[in-house]
Symmetry: C2
Subunit: 418 residues, 2 copies
């Protein structure tokens, strides 16, 4: 595609994002991009665009030789995969916002890009208006990226903010998020952490060249976080956030997961309130950087799609530098995490799994402890997210040094605790 | 230049940034970019790189047909201009970090880019590690960019932070900044606001298509901000920051300037402490975004230069969209600003120039007032930065509605004040 060539778009999906994009494109004539056809599922719905733009026939877009860009912003994973694959094979550039599809089909998508040489861009899939993928791809060489911590799901962050600032309980806050349109249609996607871990799988590919199925990553949402946890956090002058993080350990391997975490006031992520997203990147040369913006919503997402469309004009492609131009980083679960765990009954807590326990508190209704766990425990078992148990990492949760384990255990033995 | 073609670099300057770049490039072999020759001024200085890389002869780089990229990170404006101009005319891509040169020669640089078709990139000139120029260029269509507020000078921000947090006076804080290497060799460039307004002139071109000589913009530094002002700010629970800002007014014109300002705690800029920079962008679609990172220093600047070099591989050029693809925005001085002014003696203050005065305070040594001024007063006269007078804007300082002027004046007349 030549620079400044007319972009003729076939758009799949006319929900909030698709309609947002349609409106945004009308207001940015400088892009020299027009939507030729829009493929939708239900032709009966009333839509705020000329009727002759719409079709229900996929192939009218996918096999139209005039259409050189397919933009896919539908909600269903498998149809999205079919559309994107066919479009790439038909030598069309593709822009997508389907995070679940991309995260789950990343290996196939990589292969398709290599086979066809066509650009496949999906900035809108992660953190919407924050240009995080492009920045991870362009600005950080993998040897230099020490860590990333991010709030990538706006609805859970909104809920946590309301629990903290307005003392709403989880269900009241969720209801409010739904009323305001911040929650996915199926709230489980947000509150169980699926949406966040899908984004995280995509970001790990661009940050570290790590390709891992999202469901194989350790993650949780916030559904077990309760007002008691919030009160404990307040006491310590911390917030609770659902934090996606990755850190390069001393042995060169990468620790990565999505878990609720106590966040200190001076942490940049404490700054991220309500439905916003934020990304903190620590790197060797650029030091600490922080990107902040709206992570969801019609126009923020559409503006990210637009930036991808704009990038197509100068033949931009992801190079997946960390994957193809380096020895990609490897995930590890050989480290420890320091966590707060609150629970209803001791019987749900396998105390022997803790490397050490340094604090415990037995209230009438709710109990909690603070201790250290080997990360593989979180990977292999799920007691920590069952039976209303709430596991929240402490700040600086990742502990690499195995000596700590022995020391702590010893000190507890000496104290007669274990 | 083909995508992935070998980049052969001629580097001008081997100060902190040049040497940083040399080291960064050695650690990023994936870039496929090598420095063939480095032009320096003083051949006697000991340098941490092979002697055969260095030359004092400009034309060895500028006329070497093998060199396809000139990177210019020297400190002097006119030589930088000569080097960059010659390189572009010789069909070489150019990366520069010389903010003063770029700001002052923007019209010529635009013409040269149009004549030669060569890319001229200068991400490192503004906010170093924050990719602000590329984001302004790519992500915001001009109709949609409501406002930008930014802290673009790290040394003044460091000084203000120390005045606030450690109660150092201005000169102690400046000395500390110099000891830590955060201040320009000539501190006047920082503290009088020249460095900030140079960056602002560059950013206005990419944000709004406004091309204005930096010395024609209204600006000030922080040299008259004193501990008394800091105490007043503290009382109001505000910080004082040197804020570069631009705002699209209701009439479509743009208000733009660089002035000290009281900043509320909830403003994202309050988050920017010490030598860091931050940019808050409000736009129609992406809502409010915040970029934060190191704004100066060897490696942060080098990493920005590196990102430009990387972008050259896929033929990236600034399009100056807001300038060439739209009717560019126009600057206006037809609005009001609300300001706090502290001073030694009433005789330095032309009270009649104030549209209204809503607060005044006469201490023994130092006096202050809060009132409204037409912006043209700041443009046409300089009493507000002379005689140790300190003008600091209030939060939300820009007032568009002329009715306010009349109302305020009337209320003061009624009260018998004027």
């Amino acid at each position: 595609m030549d620079a400044h060539k007319q972009l003729t778009i076939g758009l799949f999906g006319f929900g909030t994002v698709g309609e947002g994009l349609y409106k945004v494109l009308q207001q940015t004539p400088s892009l020299n991009a027009t939507i030729k056809k829009i493929c939708i599922k239900n032709p009966e719905k009333k839509r705020d665009a000329p009727a002759n733009l719409f079709t229900t026939e996929r192939n009218e877009l996918l096999f139209d030789p005039e259409i050189n860009v397919i933009v896919e912003v539908i909600n269903e994973t498998e149809p999205a995969f079919q559309i994107v694959s066919t479009a790439l094979k038909n030598k069309k550039a593709v822009v997508s916002a389907s995070k679940k599809m991309i995260a789950e089909h990343l290996p196939e998508m990589l292969e398709l890009q290599q086979q066809t040489g066509e650009p496949f861009l999906y900035e809108a899939s992660c953190c919407a208006s924050i240009p995080v993928l492009r920045n991870l791809e362009e600005y950080y060489d993998n040897d230099l990226l020490h860590s990333i911590q991010a709030i990538v799901n706006g609805s859970t962050n909104f809920i946590l903010t309301k629990m903290f600032e307005e003392k709403l309980d989880f269900h009241e806050a969720l209801l409010l998020a739904q009323q305001l349109g911040f929650a996915e249609s199926d709230p489980a996607l947000d509150i169980e952490g699926h949406d966040a871990v899908n984004k995280w799988a995509i970001m790990l590919a661009h940050a570290y060249g790590i390709i891992e199925h999202p469901q194989k990553l350790v993650f949780n949402g916030i559904e077990n976080v309760n007002l008691g946890d919030a009160a404990v956090a307040k006491e310590k002058n911390h917030d609770i956030k659902l934090v996606a993080q990755a850190k390069k350990l001393a042995n060169g391997k990468v620790a990565a997961f999505v878990l609720p975490q106590f966040v200190k006031q001076e942490n940049h992520l404490a700054f991220v309130r309500n439905e916003y997203n934020g990304v903190v990147i620590e790197s060797g040369f650029a030091d600490k950087q922080f990107f902040y913006g709206k992570g969801a919503g019609s126009f923020p997402t559409a503006s990210a799609v637009l930036s991808d469309i704009s990038a197509l004009r100068y033949q931009y492609k992801y190079e997946y530098k960390k994957l193809y131009h380096h020895v990609p980083n490897k995930l590890t679960s050989d480290f420890f995490v320091k966590a707060y765990v609150s629970f209803d009954d001791w019987k749900f807590i396998p105390r022997e799994k803790f490397e050490w326990i340094e604090e415990w508190h037995a209230g009438e209704a709710r109990k909690y402890l603070v201790g250290g766990l080997h990360f593989s425990e979180l990977q292999e078992n799920s007691w920590w997210k069952e039976n209303n148990t709430s596991l929240i990492l402490l700040p600086d949760a990742i502990i690499e040094d195995i000596e700590i384990r022995k020391l702590k255990k010893k000190s507890l033995e000496l104290a007669g605790v274990v």
